[in-house]
């Protein structure tokens, strides 16, 4: 009889545990130690408790802590060292060509890294060879063929402006690529383009090819 009780107890336990663990896959399920599994500290992307924190710096009343997830003003992120003077407005685009690329030349490894970043972030539309025929180009449309003469002639600074603030249907890539990465990707794009002389020979040359003729080599 005693044995029978044992067996029943084990059976009941088995059924109970099975039922508990077979929860719907839409729910995270039960865990043994919730205070260890779910962090007490604030995790990335966690919502701030509005009872304890405020995002309004002028909110002096009460004892709420001011925190808005922004870096303190005046700090620089790694890769953002190169200063960029132009703001996002209609006039800036026209003068953006005057900003020089702070990166003179890339080593073989740096160029490979720039190419890797280009393939991840740009080639999806502009194509791995820059021909404007990436996998998404037929869905978005009006993708720039970077090997055409007008892009060969385009100054590095103008390209940087477009990558930073977006142009037409292209969004800003400032949140995905640092300034250093953007400048080096432009260097990489130059290696995809035909040499400036060859490209301009075939066409009635636009006036300002000189600035890029040097960098295209």
């Amino acid at each position: 009889m005693k044995r029978f009780t044992y067996i029943t107890a084990i059976l009941v336990a088995a059924v109970a545990v099975s039922v508990a663990s077979c929860d719907s896959k839409r729910k995270p399920g039960k865990i043994y130690m919730p205070d260890m599994t779910y962090s007490r500290a604030y995790e990335s992307y966690a919502e701030h408790d509005t009872a304890k924190f405020t995002m309004d710096i002028n909110d002096k009343g009460g004892d709420k802590i001011f925190y808005n997830s922004m870096p303190p003003s005046g700090t620089l992120k790694r890769g953002e060292l190169y200063p960029y003077p132009l703001a996002h407005d209609t006039n800036s685009y026209k003068i953006s060509g005057t900003v020089k690329n702070p990166i003179d030349s890339l080593t073989k490894d740096q160029l490979a890294e720039a190419g890797r970043l280009f393939n991840i972030n740009c080639a999806i539309c502009h194509g791995e060879k820059g021909g404007g025929n990436g996998p998404l180009s037929s869905k978005i449309g009006a993708i720039a063929n970077l090997t055409l003469p007008n892009y060969v002639a385009m100054a590095d600074g103008t390209m940087f402006y477009s990558i930073t603030y977006g142009k037409n249907d292209m969004g800003s890539y400032a949140s995905q690529l640092t300034r250093a990465q953007r400048w080096s990707i432009i260097k990489y794009v130059r290696t995809l383009q035909p040499k400036a002389e060859a490209a301009t020979a075939a066409t009635a040359a636009p006036a300002k090819t000189d600035s890029t003729a040097k960098t295209a080599k």
Partner: protein, 428 residues
């Protein structure tokens, strides 16, 4: 199987297309196709309107003979000079203005226009292969189960036959035994039954107890039906395009809404294969994109973000998307994405499964400690090779291993060798 059929169908269709093209076209038109693809295809399609108008039938629309060459050379100039048809075109397709292609020669333009006129849309891939609901290889466990049952029944029958025969032979030899106990009172049978039951119960109990506390297969409903299959699979977007943090930091990072809008400023509708949830209900991709617009504060009709009237720095109505976290490591485990992606050169799929095939993401790995440790024991590091100085130079400092490799005491270095199974590597 249906996947192969799809590929074969596509192959067949493209073959047909190639044959059709080569049948009545000369080298001239082939050039036209190449030129069209290089210069025009970004904004124009031969037969349907795209960013710019469909090009087929240009001849009928042309206001005068030779107009098209002038237009292609300098559209902005034509509009500026007040050409009536050019102004009309610009008004119809604004704000986009066609780029000038002054570098194209007349012969090249002729080739492109000839290609456009001769263009026939490729025949749609014929029939079959609609929804890829593959049944997968039939589950063998049912077959084995039935086999086991049959064998067990045969075994019991044989035992019965055996005992009957023994009874008969005993009677013949005149040995008298008592009436045999029925099998449900036979202690051997009972014992076997209890043992079998205990093992079965123990198996399920252990598995269930381990499963409790792990979240494998967890697949929550997300605020937007975001299909990794459509984005990473069909459209081949790199994982790192959206989850760029995986190569730079501890977190893989959830993309902010502006990353979505990089493409969805232009892609307003879902036109791909129908999306079906696992329960069979269909998903309206275009409606899901509309949800994204509402989160982003984007107005698709005016193609601009909502004004920021309350001066909080974001468009009015914009708010973050509250994605539900699936993969959760306990607080006492340290895991760094960049260490695995950048240094270890691991694929995302190693831990997240075939994410490019998932409509809705579920937790693929059990994320248990045994699972981590097992991988650390088996995975070889990109060890520095002194002979040809290939591999990760950091590992040049492991003098003992270099000596051992030279003396053929070991042939490869795993993560465990360099301390990947030390407790404090992940728990501190």
């Amino acid at each position: 199987m249906s996947r192969y059929r799809k590929i074969i169908n596509k192959l067949f269709a493209s073959l047909l297309f190639v044959v059709l093209l080569s049948a009545n076209n000369n080298v001239f038109a082939q050039d036209g196709e190449a030129l069209f693809k290089a210069n025009c295809a970004n904004c124009h399609k031969p037969d349907v309107d795209f960013t710019g108008p469909a090009l087929k039938g240009w001849k009928e629309r042309e206001p005068e003979e030779g107009w098209v060459y002038k237009w292609i050379a300098s559209p902005a100039g034509m509009i500026g000079s007040g050409d009536a048809y050019a102004v009309k075109l610009a008004a119809k397709w604004k704000p986009t203005v066609m780029t000038g292609f002054s570098q194209l020669k007349k012969a090249e333009i002729d080739a492109i226009l000839k290609y456009v006129d001769d263009y026939t849309p490729p025949a749609p891939a014929a029939g079959g292969a609609v929804a890829g609901s593959t049944e997968g290889g039939s589950d063998n466990s049912l077959l084995f189960g039935i086999l086991t049952l049959v064998l067990a029944v045969v075994g019991i029958i044989l035992l019965q036959v055996n005992s009957n025969l023994r009874k008969l032979s005993d009677e013949k030899e005149g040995i008298h035994r008592g009436e045999p106990v029925p099998f449900y009172r036979n202690k051997t049978y009972l014992m076997i039954g209890v043992l079998f039951f205990a093992v079965l119960t123990g198996y399920f109990l252990t598995n269930a107890a381990i499963g409790l506390g792990r979240m494998k297969n967890y697949q929550p409903v997300q605020p937007i039906y975001y299909s990794h299959k459509v984005h990473a699979g069909v459209n081949q977007i790199s994982c790192l395009y959206c989850h760029g943090g995986a190569q730079d930091s501890k977190q893989a990072s959830i993309p902010s809404v502006n990353v979505c809008m990089n493409c969805h400023m232009a892609i307003k509708e879902y036109k791909g294969d129908p999306i079906v949830r696992e329960d069979g209900s269909s998903v309206n991709g275009t409606a899901e994109i509309q949800k994204l617009y509402s989160y982003a504060g984007w107005n698709p009709t005016t193609k601009s973000y909502n004004p920021d009237n309350n001066h909080d720095g974001i468009p009015d109505g914009a708010r973050p998307i509250e994605w539900v976290k699936i993969h959760n490591l306990p607080d006492h485990v340290y895991f760094n994405h960049s260490q695995h992606i950048k240094v270890g050169q691991q694929q995302c799929q190693t831990c997240h499964g075939n994410i490019q095939d998932m409509g809705e993401v579920y937790q693929f790995a059990e994320l248990s400690m045994g699972w981590c440790i097992n991988c650390h024991r088996e995975t070889k590091v990109n060890f520095f090779n002194e002979a040809d100085s290939s591999g990760n130079k950091f590992y040049s400092i492991y003098e003992k291993f270099h000596k051992d490799i030279k003396n053929h005491k070991m042939d490869s270095v795993t993560v465990e060798h360099i301390g990947g199974t030390e407790c404090q590597k992940c728990h501190y």
